[in-house]
């Protein structure tokens, strides 16, 4: 699929080698890197593009699970 109208390139990083590449944001381009274990580099902070979509979400504070 081609969503190049909205995103041209994405960054991908291999978690072990830390090798980082910039890849065209299409399935055809990212799959060979995903197969090798590369993962998308997400923004360190702040909401992702499009996070405000869809039904409203509740941010909740959860109690830590009990541990004996």
């Amino acid at each position: 699929m081609d969503d190049s109208k909205t995103v041209k390139k994405i960054r991908m990083r291999h978690p072990h080698t830390s090798d980082e590449v910039e890849v065209e944001a299409t399935s055809e381009a990212v799959i060979p890197y995903m197969v090798k274990g590369y993962q998308q580099v997400l923004a360190e902070s702040g909401p992702r593009p499009g996070d405000a979509d869809g039904p409203a979400e509740e941010q909740v504070t959860l109690a830590e699970p009990e541990k004996d």
């Binding site: 995903m34 593009p49 039904p55 509740e58 004996d68």
Partner: protein, 336 residues
């Protein structure tokens, strides 16, 4: 007083958990078809078989561990298929912005990790002004998912089932306010396109039904390792790693004089298999096996019509892997 099962509110974690024991904080609310209600199942063992008590009966019980698992049987929507494949395969790339978020989903590389992204599951049932059920299952992973398409009218022509397993960690009450129902864009089988080994099965009006599956065979016992953790004195899992993963693809098609399935089977010809279903241009799912041979071709009949059921043998392609799901839907941040 009592509660109907339709009152069940099901919230599935949207974002992946930071680790197996830390609950997710964002949820998507989905409907489902199966009436299963998940139980936090504490397992106790006993000493009935042990020698020295003077009889064969139970003298004591002992806390063992928690088992949590359940199933989701749903009409296939772009949103739910994206959720299931993202958590079921594990490596997720999302591009684009709402309402056109594009996902590329591939199996995790075992050289990188053996653990899938974990999600939380919230189940709530109101009753008599209170809650008959209000549980948050933390640290859950997809054991398997199956997309199936069939001839026939309606949403039942295109379904998605998921089996998931929990770490055993449960928070009651959940403390979660589950959001409004997700607006799902169902993808009817009538929208399908299917090409396997160069044969267009839809263009020739031959395809009848089929299914695509992925099973992680999670190493559940290995999750109870020394130090994995306790809850109410019972063991909980501290990890759930993938075992021997198995992709599957089976389809039934009308058998014609010009059918090539048997020849493809004998020659063990490999090619790509691509199934696409959609609701509209903004809600699409494409399943791809980059390299697949036929493992079996069995003649059969369907509604009195001679047919053949093909069982595929997905192979790993050095460049493109063994299985890919590419989707477009309106929800950002799934499994991220």
């Amino acid at each position: 007083m009592a509660a109907r099962v339709q009152q069940l509110i099901l919230g599935l974690g949207k974002g992946k958990q930071s680790n197996i024991a830390t609950a997710g904080t964002t949820f998507l609310r989905f409907m489902k078809n199966n009436a299963d209600v998940t139980s936090p199942q504490p397992i106790f063992e006993n000493d009935a078989a042990e020698i020295g008590k003077g009889n064969e009966f139970i003298a004591n019980t002992y806390p063992s561990h928690y088992e949590v698992s359940s199933a989701l049987d749903k009409y296939a929507s772009a949103e739910f298929v994206t959720w299931a494949a993202a958590f079921g395969l594990g490596n997720v790339v999302q591009t684009g912005t709402a309402p056109t978020c594009a996902y590329t989903l591939t199996p995790i590389n075992p050289g990188t990790t053996l653990e899938l992204p974990y999600f939380s599951v919230c189940e709530q049932v109101s009753e008599g002004g209170g809650a008959a059920i209000d549980n948050l299952y933390v640290g859950c992973a997809v054991e398997d998912f199956t997309y199936s398409f069939n001839s026939g009218p309606g949403r039942a022509s295109s379904k998605m089932t998921v089996n998931w397993v929990g770490s055993g960690l449960v928070t009651t009450p959940s403390g979660v306010v589950v959001p409004a129902l997700t607006v799902e864009n169902n993808m009817l089988a009538a929208s399908a396109t299917l090409t396997v080994n160069g044969v267009d099965y839809v263009g020739t009006k031959r395809i009848l039904s089929g299914s695509i599956g992925w099973k992680n065979n999670l190493l559940l016992n290995a999750g109870f390792f020394p130090g994995s953790g306790l809850q109410n004195g019972l063991q909980v899992r501290g990890r759930m790693e993938v075992g021997t993963r198995v992709p599957s693809f089976q389809f039934t098609t009308r058998l014609l004089a010009a059918s090539t399935e048997y020849a493809t089977l004998i020659a063990q010809t490999t090619g790509t298999a691509v199934l696409t279903v959609q609701h509209d241009a903004g809600n699409i799912v494409t399943f791809t096996f980059p390299q697949m041979a036929f493992q079996m071709a069995k003649n059969t009949e369907s509604d009195g019509i001679v047919a053949v059921t093909i069982t595929g043998a997905p192979e790993n392609n050095v460049t493109n892997g063994v299985f890919t799901v590419a989707t477009i839907c309106g929800i950002a941040g799934i499994a991220q």
